[in-house]
Amino acid sequence: MAKIVAGVACSHVPAIGAALDNGKTGEPYWQPLFRGFEPSKKYMAELKPDAIILVYNDHASAFSLEIIPTFAIGCAASFPPADEGWGARPVPVVQGHPELAAHIAQSTILDEFDMTIVNKMDVDHGLTVPLSLMYGQPAAWPCPVIPLAVNVVQYPPPTGHRCYMLGKAIRRAIDSYPQPLRVAIMGTGGMSHQISGQRAGLINSKFDNAFLDKLAQDPESAVKIPHIEYVREAGAEAIELVMWLIMRGALDERTKEIYRFYHVPASNTAVGHIILENAA
């Protein structure tokens, strides 16, 4: 049977991708951030998961306002990096895991989550920046990745509770998959940031650190945070943090914290990162 071997959360700021792609990681502005992800790269290299489920949001790249799926699972064999208006990121094409993705889709739908199935999709910085942070700049990504896109662009996104429950449904899907795959799940986006309007630039490190604590030790309380609280306390786009709760739902109630990193700023955003494993 397949099993979940790690849960990873991290921000997906586009400027991080641009810094990597343009060789700026050694600059004083970026150095502390990339140094913070060195232990994570080592961890992932040792963990060697057979597949990653990567929860992220599309930023008007694959989905415009024509179709706005709340939860969309990528079941294709591969997903090209999107041209977000200045050319696609020079990163490898993401190879999917169609068999596992189809199983998760079927299992979660029967578990009463109305997933949208996507068989053709470009993936933007929301998905590729976290991979870059975990793996650097390889010629090919080391394992298949199943994209799980969540609408956080048009209000309302799914609630934190709904996301957490979806994570639990994904866990049941993994646990019932007959192949002995070791699967990691990533939740991305956040942490505090607001990139629009006169209040742009909002950062709330107190909120962010409390969220990291809750995520690790008391997910049930993180799940209860209402949308208004994310937006008012941590900025309009901090609502992306609901996606971390999908990752968390796929883990056991009790987890072991492997690593944590927090850094302000990357462009407009507070960067948060945590690695959790199921407690033995």
Binding site: P14, Y155, S192, Q194, R199, F207, A236, V264
Partner: protein, 130 residues
């Protein structure tokens, strides 16, 4: 439609179904700028290019004036208007600075110093008191 709690947050516009409906064509114009040939056509004749999209005169004017906050008020969404920003050669942070009324340098300095604090920025009543 809009929820009063959200409307009380200063300098913040919730992109809800109502704004999405009003801003549909504005956002789809921005979406069209994903293609290089459309960016070229827009640059060559902005007003002419915009005629393809059935927007209100206010929306068209906000685009031509690059009034970024007005675009949001009229139903624009930041991830879409950022594509117009990118067409103009603006990085996200430059666009953010413009919406706050700060210079690029002031805004970048604020971010380096830890960002805009939440204290004093939770409710419109706090902004009125100045």
């Amino acid at each position: 439609m809009s929820e009063p709690q959200f409307e009380d947050i200063p300098g913040t516009l919730l992109f809800d179904a109502e704004r999405s409906r009003k801003g549909y064509h504005l956002n789809m114009f921005c979406m069209s700028l994903m293609k290089p040939e459309n960016r070229d056509a827009f640059r060559a004749d902005e007003a002419g290019y915009l005629k393809q999209f059935p927007m209100t005169p206010e929306q068209t004017k906000a685009i031509l004036d690059r009034d970024w906050n007005k675009m949001l008020e009229l139903g624009g969404n930041i991830y879409f208007t950022a594509k117009l920003g990118a067409t103009d050669g603006l990085a996200f942070q430059q666009l953010a600075a413009k919406m706050t009324g700060a210079t690029q340098q002031e805004y970048a300095d604020m971010m380096l110093a830890g960002g805009r604090p939440v204290e004093g920025n939770r409710s419109k009543s706090e902004w009125k008191r100045g």
